[in-house]
Symmetry: C2
Subunit: 121 residues, 2 copies
Amino acid sequence: MQKVNLEEKFRLFDQYFTPKIVGELNGQYIKIAKFLGEFSWHTHEGEDEFFQVIKGSIIIHLRNESITLNEGECFIVPRGVEHKPQALEEAHIMMFEPKSTGHTGTLENEQTIAIENQQWL
Amino acid sequence: MQKVNLEEKFRLFDQYFTPKIVGELNGQYIKIAKFLGEFSWHTHEGEDEFFQVIKGSIIIHLRNESITLNEGECFIVPRGVEHKPQALEEAHIMMFEPKSTGHTGTLENEQTIAIENQQWL
């Protein structure tokens, strides 16, 4: 069985807002992503989503507030809550969410990656 | 909605091997714990368990190998696999696991904390 070194995994890709799967447990995926710029407003109807900042900082915009997360900080976006992640500089993020979660939720646009095209690292 | 700052949460308790709940999503808990010394050999029959080292390092002993996890490293212990966590110096750990997971699995001993007595921080 293999451990996962997050820093090594982050060196394996450059694209922003394209989550990569690094682990699976109990019907959930552990994913990592690099954020830079603004992602789309979107909602996950049936899935809560956990964000942990591994490096840098991000802003999770909700419709009524914006939450800044720095390194070592975590936030759970509850199902049904519209949100828009943003990073002013490159940030490294770990996420924990059900295997069924598409990263743009119910939205489909040019940023959307189909669930079956999500990559394992 | 509140973010979770892991460093702040770790300052709130001192006990070793007593996981505290810091978040809940999709039927899973996010827990944190301080490890020092050896925990008991135990198995979770129906639950995979994710460990991430936030500070320090730990060893996850399996029956056929021992895996050292340093800061920024993660490991998933699959359900049914007997394991014994150990820390030679104090280490800070984040875990993801189903809400039904007791930290000593199918073992009950003096280290066991009943699920209903697990604390939120």
